[in-house]
């Protein structure tokens, strides 16, 4: 993954074929290992493993307003969550969201990368322009989208532009019928993350051996669609798979823009927003919240593993 050709060149070939030059102080190495990794592992234990185990424990208890419950309820919390219309509905919301955002981001970031890669002048400028939104937080972008770009009244930019063509004002977020809020939600995330994935595609494009295009030209492949379809796209397969997985995991964790854009609405709640209101809302139900968190965790593990099976993208090491 991180072994770029440049670094490979800098790395010496393993001296006389010995797997590990472990001459220096063998006794001290166990201590050194824990000296280096100890703080991290301790933190990982306390702030990652303990919470997960604790909440696994909590999920079997009646735990409202308390994190040290006493009333064991078995799988009751799981039953409640799995039959909870809002929680299950949030999984549906995620599905719609993923179906909208994953293909569009993939296509847009790839298109931007192809375009920027072909530019001969001002390439750095355009790359910066597309990349710049990555600096903006989801909260700030949501604010711009909600207050100015897709404001439901006349002075919103979208309504102003549409007004030129005689279209009436649209309540983009305040009305779920028709579901215009998806347009707002998808465009804000598209704007924020397309540049980031463009960078990944650009790096991958520059790694495609030039000889492939030369050979294709000799064989009579037309530049444009044909070389794209039969050379560029297959060569980008690993990056594409990684990007799709990352987009999917990111979509699964979507919170900021839904929370801010749809703050007072009951529609369009993805899993994390639902969980937030369930566990930290008015009735602080940590038991049900923990059960929900574990269900979500299991689902995401499942998706990651399945995708790894299908796309040949296992651990990060194979990503490039």
């Amino acid at each position: 993954m991180s072994t770029t050709p440049a670094r490979d060149a800098a790395r010496p070939a393993p001296a006389e074929g010995s797997p590990r030059p472990r001459r220096p102080l063998r006794t001290g190495s166990t201590f050194a290992f824990w000296l280096f990794t100890g703080p991290f592992l301790l933190g990982l234990l306390i702030f990652v493993y303990v919470p997960i185990l604790w909440s696994a424990w909590l999920s079997f208890f009646e735990a409202r307003f308390t994190v040290t419950p006493s009333e064991f309820t078995g799988f009751e919390n799981y039953r409640v969550m799995l039959t909870d219309e809002q929680f299950m509905g949030s999984l549906g919301t995620f599905t719609v969201f993923a179906a909208l955002i994953v293909p569009t981001t993939w296509a847009l970031s790839l298109a931007l990368a192809l375009a920027v890669n072909r530019l001969r002048f001002m390439r750095a400028f355009f790359r910066s322009v597309f990349f710049l939104p990555t600096a903006v937080s989801y909260v700030a972008a949501s604010l711009v989208w909600k207050m100015s770009l897709f404001n439901g009244v006349r002075f919103g930019l979208a309504n102003t532009v549409l007004g030129v063509f005689g279209v009436d004002d649209t309540a983009w977020l305040a009305d779920p019928n028709p579901p215009w809020y998806w347009l707002v939600i998808v465009t804000v995330r598209l704007w924020l993350q397309a540049g980031f994935y463009m960078i990944l595609f650009l790096a991958a494009l520059q790694n495609i051996p030039r000889e492939l295009y030369e050979a294709a030209a000799i064989d009579g492949a037309r530049p444009g669609w044909q070389t794209f379809r039969y050379i560029t796209l297959p060569q980008l397969r690993a990056t594409s798979a990684a990007v799709v997985l990352l987009l999917l995991v990111a979509a699964y964790q979507a919170f900021d823009e839904f929370f801010n854009l749809l703050s007072k609405t009951t529609w369009g709640r993805p899993p994390l927003v639902e969980l937030y209101y369930k566990a930290l809302g008015d009735n602080q139900d940590y038991g049900a919240g923990s059960a929900g968190a574990l269900i979500l965790t299991l689902l995401i593990c499942l998706v990651t593993l399945l995708q790894g099976r299908f796309m040949g993208f296992g651990r990060g090491e194979d990503a490039r």
């Binding site: 993954m1 991180s2 010496p12 590990r20 030059p21 001290g28 166990t30 290992f33 000296l35 280096f36 990794t37 703080p39 991290f40 592992l41 933190g43 990982l44 702030f47 990652v48 303990v50 919470p51 604790w54 909440s55 994190v67 040290t68 931007l112 375009a115 890669n117 001969r120 910066s128 597309f130 990349f131 710049l132 600096a135 937080s137 909260v139 700030a140 604010l143 711009v144 989208w145 207050m147 100015s148 770009l149 002075f155 790096a203 494009l205 495609i208 295009y213 030209a217 000799i218 530049p223 794209f228 560029t232 964790q253 929370f259 940590y286 968190a293 965790t297 651990r315 990060g316 490039r320």
Partner: protein, 313 residues
């Protein structure tokens, strides 16, 4: 794409005989923009530039809105007629978020700065040490430890915010810098990135340090870190951005307004009873400014970091 104006370089026939379609460009091998085949031609190139400019324009519209609204008066923003730019630039708006009695914006900026810096320094310190230990120090059970780290990559931290909050609140860390910073320091992913990087670090540099009598610790600080500053800068930039922009965790932890970060403050503007458009957008502009500066000045490291390491966040 365009057959009428073939690129001059493509005129050479391939070694296997004459080109089958003499009029066609062969995609300019050797040009920087080679892959994908520009299709040559002035018109194709003009179309490419037109499309790219249009996309760039659309990408810049939100920035334009922020600047315009931040420097306008409210009547100009909410007027029936669209004003493209304020008739008189309201520089006085700059101080308004700081004078707003409902939201302590200055405090939230300070909180974000403290959290962003400490989050970055702490993550780099803890994760780089662990990454080095996993990559370089021989230990019998190192692979088991590594799998314990890899396992956490399967569970996104955002999904576990409920259990994390349960833990942090029972430690009494709600509304504190500790609560905002410490739980986020132990990123399995950052540790993994450092490990991958150190696996490729030239071994002979460390060997030389060892010969000079330095142990692992000394070699790490005197040789490895000084020779890895580019990588550290890349990770630091990415970590700072994700720390500054994070919202869910600060929202959960910042129950009291005094512990709000700037993102939580911005979010609160959206649900306030009274809406001061110019104030809100000025606050947004101020909150984005540090990161835009980071982007413009550190972009080299950032792009390199992203391209090298894959991803973060």
């Amino acid at each position: 794409m365009r057959t009428s104006t073939p690129a001059p370089k493509a005129a050479e026939p391939g070694p296997q005989g004459p080109p089958r379609r003499p009029g066609r460009s062969a995609g300019r091998p050797g040009r920087p923009g080679g892959p994908g085949g520009p299709g040559g031609g002035v018109l194709g190139s003009a179309g490419l530039y037109a499309a790219t400019c249009l996309a760039a324009f659309l990408f810049l519209v939100p920035f334009y809105l922020i600047v315009r609204n931040a420097l306008s008066t409210d009547p100009e923003i909410t007027g029936e007629e669209w004003t493209f730019f304020p008739s008189k630039i309201q520089w006085g708006n700059i101080t308004e978020p700081f004078d707003d009695p409902t939201v302590d914006f200055a405090r939230s900026l300070w909180n974000s700065a403290v959290v962003g810096v400490l989050h970055t320094v702490g993550t780099l310190l803890v994760c780089s040490l662990a990454g080095y230990g996993l990559a370089r120090i021989p230990y019998r059970h190192a692979d088991k430890v590594f799998y314990a780290v890899l396992g956490t990559l399967m569970v996104p931290t955002a999904v576990t915010f409920v259990p994390s909050f349960v833990l942090v609140s029972s430690l009494g860390w709600v509304d504190s810098y500790r609560g905002l910073i410490v739980p986020g320091l132990f990123s399995g992913f950052t540790c993994f990135l450092f490990r991958q990087y150190f696996l490729g670090f030239p071994r002979e540099l460390e060997e030389a340090a060892r010969v000079d009598g330095l142990g692992y610790w000394g070699a790490y600080w005197r040789v490895v870190v000084p020779n890895s500053l580019n990588f550290f800068a890349a990770i630091a930039t990415i970590t700072f951005i994700s720390g500054w922009n994070s919202f869910l965790w600060p929202l959960v932890i910042g129950q009291d307004p005094s512990a709000w970060t700037v993102q939580v403050a911005l979010s609160s503007y959206m649900t306030n009873q009274t809406v001061n458009f110019h104030l809100i957008f000025m606050a947004t502009a101020i909150s984005i400014l540090p990161l835009v500066c980071v982007f413009l000045f550190l972009q080299r490291w950032l792009v390199q970091g992203i391209a090298q390491t894959g991803i973060k966040g």
